[in-house]
């Protein structure tokens, strides 16, 4: 194993070296500048390619090659290329990792990217949440916002009809969610809302709806000791005690999405980035399901009871790349209205650029049966930035472990909360 680790790293480096060495050596045979663009989502390849094509049509002297690496390998590979200083020219960056890369100077500070064009470009065209998602620990911008997302409630219309329950709407609260689940279970025997041990697609939403938070205000310590956080988490975890919700053992073998699209349950939370592929992958289900905004907390500790976790990716580059100036120009285009429009129209994701959300919504017009995807856009009004701090990689596995142990009854809820709180606090101390 120990050998494997290094060997894989080394192999990855060699692989990238040949990849980049092959095409990145300045003026290549055809006299053009060849750039590599690394992404992890194969569903977005065409959208990214379309965007690159639009750029290269205007700049014939540039060639951009889109490369897809699966999410699992992406970060190992990217880190290896960062160590050997052979990073792809442009790559996607995720909020999970951006702080690490930014703090170690592995991705370029792009705060001044638009200064010549429009110094207020970032603030004008991107939301506060989007901008938070591209900041390093020092508050500067280390990427160009790519997209933004929210979490919505996916529901099975047939099951609602059979149980005689009205479809979820803006007015829904947690109580309605439970009540509908019970009725559906009683009437059809299928599961209601499927609440499982996930953060972004699960309890984070409930915690912020209740006015709690996962991190304390200083962004370093945990928020698991706050009553508002605990109340929401207790509510969420206890949902599995209902007969209409499968337990965590079930979810360990069957994901809520699989259960939903095989007609086992009536509702689950889903990110907007999956909706298009689910529309395409489950043709039998077309017309039988729809999406709605998340139910709100009926009696929040503070706030209006609404929240939906909003994350976002960005385009980043290495500060030491060979074609830094060209890359900056490409990035400027990727962040521009034109670039973001192409991305939205391809259905890849909701563009981060404010005002272009409808381009993504419009993609769903291609289907005879139109989902109410506008709800994902509506939720940006109260979107909450996906929980993140520099120490997240350290505390996240411990927090997930504790959550699973609460579910399986190995530890009590209170002990679990203490463990989670400790995990977050100690992660910061260890640094």
């Amino acid at each position: 194993m120990k050998k494997l680790k290094k060997a894989v790293l080394l192999l990855a480096v060699c692989l990238i070296a040949t990849l980049i060495g092959g095409c990145g050596s300045g003026a290549s045979a055809d006299g053009k500048t060849h750039l590599t663009f690394q992404i992890w989502d194969v569903n977005q390849r065409d959208g990214m390619q379309a965007m690159c094509d639009a750029y290269t049509a205007q700049h014939p002297d540039v060639v951009i090659e889109v490369q897809v690496t699966s999410w699992d390998e992406y970060w190992t590979k990217l880190e290896a290329t960062a160590i050997s200083n052979q990073m792809p020219d442009i790559f996607w960056m995720h909020t999970n990792e951006i702080l690490k890369y930014a703090d170690y100077g592995k991705i370029a500070d792009l705060t001044d990217l638009y200064d010549d064009v429009d110094p207020g470009f970032y603030q004008e065209h991107f939301s506060e949440v989007s901008l938070k998602n591209i900041q390093g620990s020092d508050g500067r911008y280390y990427g160009v916002p790519k997209d933004k997302d929210t979490i919505g409630l996916v529901y099975n219309k047939e099951m609602f009809d059979q149980a005689g329950v009205a479809y979820p709407d803006e007015s829904w609260t947690w109580d309605d969610l439970c009540e509908a689940s019970q009725k559906i279970y009683d009437a059809t025997g299928y599961y209601g809302y499927m609440a499982y041990g996930d953060d972004q697609l699960g309890y984070w939403n409930f915690v912020y709806q209740n006015g709690g938070s996962i991190l304390a205000d200083n962004g370093i310590n945990g928020g698991f000791n706050l009553p508002a956080t605990q109340d929401a988490m207790r509510f969420y975890i206890d949902l599995q005690k209902n007969n209409w919700c499968p337990d965590q053992n079930y979810f360990a073998e069957t994901s809520p999405g699989t259960a939903f699209f095989s007609g086992q349950g009536a509702m689950f939370f889903e990110g907007d980035w999956n909706i298009l592929s689910e529309m395409q992958n489950y043709p039998n289900m077309i017309g039988k399901w729809d999406v709605a905004v998340l139910p709100k907390c009926p009696n929040p500790a503070n706030g209006d009871g609404r929240a939906s976790i909003s994350n976002g990716l960005c385009y980043a580059t290495s500060p030491t790349g060979k074609h830094y100036e060209t890359v900056k120009d490409v990035l400027r285009f990727f962040g521009s209205e034109e670039g973001q429009r192409i991305q939205g129209e391809s259905g890849a994701a909701i563009p981060a650029y404010i005002g272009l959300e409808d381009t993504w919504v419009g993609v769903f017009d291609q289907f005879d049966y139109r989902l109410n995807v506008e709800c994902f856009v509506d939720m940006f009004d109260y979107g909450v930035q996906s929980v993140n701090n520099k120490f997240r990689p350290t505390w996240k596995p411990d927090v997930s472990d504790a959550l699973l142990k609460i579910y399986s009854g190995q530890i009590s809820f209170e002990d679990g909360m203490n463990i989670m709180q400790q995990a977050v606090d100690e992660a910061a101390l260890e640094d």
Partner: protein, 295 residues
């Protein structure tokens, strides 16, 4: 004359070195260097992007103080206890049966060897289906609702079953080669003396195959202590039984690549190497008692 010969032998040995150079360089670069590097890392605090600071035994202190680590040790030992004796026994039975003159012997040999050829990911996929609580064929046949994969008390047994199944063929083929070296005359002599098949097995087959059995035992035990891929494939991150199934190598993977603490991960690896070393030493010492090298 003498000088000429040595010149020639020197040039010969030089060619020898050149010939083995690719392998040796590969070994040094891919095995020896990373191993030394791992030792170094186990005494360091690792930072992202290959950076590190030497910190003495800090990682080891942290490791020995962690309940998770001891749990992983117990899980690994439990896994070995389950897989090695049963696995070896079954492999021996299979090997003995494949050594007899039955019809379609080649076919059966191929069938038993198949699991070795199939990708571990595919094996895990199929077994996960078989063990699925809701739709799995096993629960359907047993008419029970057993949480094979998610019950903390059962999950290692489940993994052990898959491990045994996957390894039987390979071990059996090795044992078979040992069995085929046993001269038929022993059996003829024994049957003339009126020994039963069972007596023949215990008094001829077992002692004669014991050197091969010993090699297989060492290999099987080593790979059982190092079990990782099977658990990684069988147990999802969302599985409540995850900590009950976590082996030493799985702990290493989580610490190194999920949490990003490669220092601690390396310490776990070094511990495992030492553990395997001790276990193997004990076996070499113990073999004197049961392995028979006289033909």
């Amino acid at each position: 004359m003498k000088e000429k010969a040595s010149k020639r032998s020197r040039s010969e040995s030089m060619w020898g070195y050149i010939m083995i150079a690719p392998t040796i360089i590969g070994l040094l670069v891919l095995n020896i260097y990373p191993f030394l590097d791992t030792i170094k890392l186990s005494f360091s605090k690792t930072l992202p992007f290959g950076l590190y600071e030497l910190r003495g035994v800090q990682n080891y202190v942290k490791m020995f103080a962690s309940a998770e680590f001891w749990r992983a040790n117990m899980n690994t030992i439990y896994f070995c206890v389950l897989t090695v004796p049963i696995g070896l026994f079954l492999a021996l039975v299979v090997a003995v049966m494949l050594n007899t003159k039955i019809k379609g012997r080649t076919f059966f040999r191929a069938v038993f060897f198949l699991p070795m050829v199939v990708a571990p990911a595919a094996v895990a996929m199929v077994w996960k289906w078989i063990f699925n609580t809701e739709y799995g064929i096993l629960n359907t046949l047993l008419m029970h609702h057993i949480n094979w994969i998610t019950d903390p008390n059962i999950v290692i047994v489940t993994c052990a079953i898959v491990a045994i199944w996957s390894n039987i063929g390979y071990d059996a083929v090795l044992l078979l080669s040992g069995l085929q070296n046993i001269s038929q005359s022993y059996y003829e002599a024994a049957s003339l003396d009126g020994a039963t098949k069972l007596q023949q097995f215990f008094h001829i087959t077992l002692p004669m195959v014991s050197p091969t059995l010993f090699v297989v035992l060492i290999m099987r035990l080593m790979s059982s202590i190092k079990v990782y891929d099977l658990i990684y494939m069988m147990i999802e991150q969302s599985n409540p039984a995850l900590t009950s199934a976590q082996s030493l190598m799985y702990l290493f993977f989580r610490e190194s690549f999920v949490t990003g603490d490669r220092g601690l991960g390396s310490a776990v690896v070094i511990w495992t190497v030492a553990f395997i070393g001790v276990v193997t030493l004990v076996q070499f010492w113990g073999q004197k008692k049961w392995v028979n090298y006289e033909v």
